[in-house]
Structure formats: structure tokens, C-alpha cells
């Protein structure tokens, strides 16, 4: 009797152990499957984000970041295409092309640090000058910025354009797109801006600053030059790689 009970007890224990082993194995399998599915879903999300971001911009009906641009430039004086207090000792000359994606990146990642620092506190001012090297659409874009500058909104136009930039020479720089940017930038008289941006005077200014950039030896955008008490005239500084580099160049020119 006792032998049979022992055999049954051992059998039950073996079944229990088998069941536990099966459950543990199933558990491991599910955790591995769940983790793989989770990381696959994250990878898909990353691809969707990259594709989504690369397709953005150039949409006249969906101008974004006006509030962010207003916030960045709020309270800083603008005169033509110059941003900053007229009394600032150092002038930073930025030669850029509104169609240039590197300029867009620089405008979003590097320049805000300097604008919120040395420009805001009156040490430096930045003068944006067109250097149209990307293609035919760069000229009307640059002219539109100058015309906005004549109404005191040049930097709002430039910054907002960069934040809504489309693919190079893809045909997005239309009258509708430029007008949407001008309105978003807060250009007070859009009719006057519209006439100015097509004028010979403004278009020749775009050509003149492009020639100036070439004379300075620049071949890409954005390129910078600087002048101040500590420089001998206008000195080229190329493209400083970081906010710190740009700040050091400004400090060195004081």
C-alpha cells in the first residue's frame, strides 16, 4: 500500500515539475517574443519619424513655429537685415541661402544660443546677407527676406522660412508660400512687401551680397565674417561649429 502511495506521490510531483518547467519555458518564450515585438515596433516608429520629418516643410497652408520664432526674437531691435542693438560693438555677418538645409540646421541649433546671449545683451549684432548658391528659387526667397527687413521683420522672415523650408529647388518657393511666411513673420504691409520683393533695387541687393560673399572667398553656406574693435576690418571666420565657437569669435572681436 505504502509503495503504491509513494509511486503516486512521485508521479504527481513529476507532473508538477513538468508543468512548472513548461510554464517557465512558455514564460521565457513570451518575454523574448514581447521584447522582440516591442523593439521592432520602436524601430518602425523611428523610421516613420525620420520619413515624416524629411517630408515636412514647403507647405504654404501649414506654416509652423511662428510662436517659437517670435519668442526667440522678442524684444531684440531689427534694422533692415540686422538683428541687435545698433550700439553693439561687434557685427557678425552671416552669408546664407534660405534654401540651404545646413543653414536651416545652423539657424535652429547654433544661432539661438548667440541670439539669446550676446545679441540679446547688446554685445553683438548679426547682419544676414544672401549668398544664393543653391538654385533659382534662392533669389526670390532672399529678395522676399530683404523686403520684409524693410518693414522691420527681416529676421522673423528668415527664421520662419528656415523652419518651414522645403526640399531644394522643388518648386515650393511660390508666391503663396512667400506670402504665408511674410504673414507669419508679421510683415505689417504685405501689399508693399509684395511690390518691394520684385523690385530691381531689392533683387540687385541679393546679387550684390552674393558677389560680396564670393569676394570674401566663401564657397558654401552658411559662412561668417566678423568686424569689431578687435579685428582689422572684416575678417572671415568660416562656419564656426558650435555656439561656443561663435561666442569665442565674438568675444575675440570685442
Amino acid at each position: 500500500m505504502s509503495g503504491r502511495r509513494d509511486r503516486e506521490a512521485r508521479r504527481e510531483e513529476r507532473l508538477r515539475e513538468d508543468e512548472q518547467a513548461g510554464t517557465a519555458e512558455r514564460r521565457q518564450r513570451l518575454i523574448k517574443l514581447g521584447s522582440a515585438a516591442g523593439f521592432l515596433a520602436l524601430a518602425v516608429l523611428a523610421v516613420v519619424l525620420v520619413v515624416s520629418q524629411s517630408q515636412k516643410g514647403g507647405d504654404a497652408s501649414n506654416i509652423v513655429d511662428t510662436q517659437a520664432v517670435n519668442q526667440l526674437l522678442d524684444g531684440i531691435p531689427q534694422n533692415g537685415m540686422t538683428l541687435g542693438k545698433p550700439s553693439a560693438k561687434v557685427t557678425l555677418l552671416e552669408f546664407g541661402d534660405l534654401q540651404c538645409p545646413v543653414c536651416k540646421g545652423y539657424s535652429e541649433e547654433v544661432l539661438p544660443g548667440v541670439i539669446e546671449g550676446q545679441v540679446q545683451n547688446g554685445e553683438a549684432k548679426i547682419d544676414f546677407r544672401n549668398f544664393t548658391i543653391i538654385g533659382p528659387e534662392s533669389t526670390p526667397a532672399g529678395a522676399a527676406a530683404i523686403a520684409a527687413g524693410e518693414q522691420g521683420r527681416g529676421w522673423n522672415f528668415v527664421e520662419l522660412f528656415y523652419r518651414n523650408q522645403g526640399a531644394e529647388d522643388s518648386g515650393y518657393v511660390t508666391d503663396a508660400f512667400l506670402t504665408a511666411i511674410a504673414k507669419g513673420a508679421g510683415v505689417p504691409n504685405v501689399a508693399s512687401w509684395n511690390a518691394d520683393r520684385k523690385s530691381k533695387r531689392v533683387l540687385s541687393e541679393v546679387a550684390a551680397t552674393t558677389a560680396e560673399a564670393e569676394q570674401l572667398g566663401f564657397s558654401g553656406t552658411p559662412s561668417f565674417a566678423i568686424k569689431g574693435p578687435g579685428t582689422s576690418g572684416t575678417e572671415t571666420i568660416g562656419t564656426p561649429g558650435s555656439v561656443g565657437d561663435l561666442e569665442s569669435a565674438i568675444s575675440g572681436a570685442e
Binding site: 518564450r29 515585438a37 520629418q53 511662428t66 517659437a68
Partner: protein, 143 residues
């Protein structure tokens, strides 16, 4: 350390996901009228974030994806079994990853903080912890 009972985890997840549905719905409704969520503590952070190019994904307001995600997480919290555990874990992981990305953008790219987005990020983080614990502790367990 012993994990809480699965029923407790499901209860917590139900509470968090319900809250998440509310937050995401508010953001979606505020944005659909051409406006933006109102930051309770003041400031323009919510407006700046809602108006940024990152507030939409493939042309759809990210809050809509948020509603879908929270509803799925709510369903997973209410249901039993490995299917619910697994789907809850995967959706919470994706939601948590996307929340980290959006919070990074707010801090370093948009330079503005939206309290509603932060609230959603906190809820999604807690939901990830809850669902991951449920998955790790109870995957394969009987209902």
C-alpha cells in the same frame, strides 16, 4: 523583490490609461479648433509646442495617436491573459519611447514645455513600468 499581484497592476494600469485618454482627448480637442491646449501654470509653452512641426506625425495630430494608444492600454488592463500582457507591454514600450523623444524635442529643439505633454509622458512612463512588470512577472501564468 516580489511583484505586486497582477490584479493590482491591472487596476493601476486601468487608472493611468483612463487618465491618459482624458489628457490626450483634451489636447486633440484643443488643437482641432485651430487653437492649442491652455497651460494651467501660464506661459506660452503649450501654444509653442502645439504649433511646432513636431505636433503632427504623417499629417495627423500626435494626440490622436495618444488617444488610440491609451485606449488600447486601457483594454489590455481590463483583459486577462498573455495576449493582453504582451500587447500592453509592446504598446506601452512604443508610447514610452515616443514620449522620451517628444520630451527631448521640447527641451532641446522646441525650447518650450507643454504641461499637458509632460503629464502624458509621466502617465506613459508609469504605464510602461506597470505593463513591463506585469509581463515579466506573469507572462505564461494561468489566468
Amino acid at each position: 523583490m516580489k511583484a505586486p499581484a497582477e490584479g493590482t497592476l491591472r487596476g493601476i494600469a486601468t487608472f493611468l490609461a483612463s487618465f491618459g485618454v482624458g489628457v490626450a482627448t483634451y489636447i486633440a480637442i484643443a488643437d482641432s479648433g485651430g487653437g492649442s491646449p491652455v497651460c494651467i501654470a501660464g506661459g506660452h509653452g503649450c501654444q509653442t509646442v502645439a504649433e511646432s512641426s513636431y505636433s503632427h506625425l504623417l499629417g495627423v495630430n500626435v494626440a490622436i495617436f495618444g488617444i488610440i494608444g491609451y485606449v488600447v492600454l486601457l483594454a489590455c488592463a481590463l483583459l486577462r491573459g498573455d495576449g493582453a500582457r504582451m500587447v500592453g507591454f509592446v504598446v506601452a514600450l512604443v508610447g514610452f519611447g515616443y514620449s522620451v523623444y517628444l520630451t527631448y524635442l521640447e527641451l532641446f529643439t522646441i525650447d518650450a514645455i507643454c504641461q499637458w505633454c509632460v503629464a502624458s509622458a509621466v502617465l506613459m512612463t508609469l504605464l510602461f513600468v506597470t505593463n513591463a512588470t506585469r509581463m515579466l512577472a506573469y507572462a505564461g501564468a494561468k489566468r
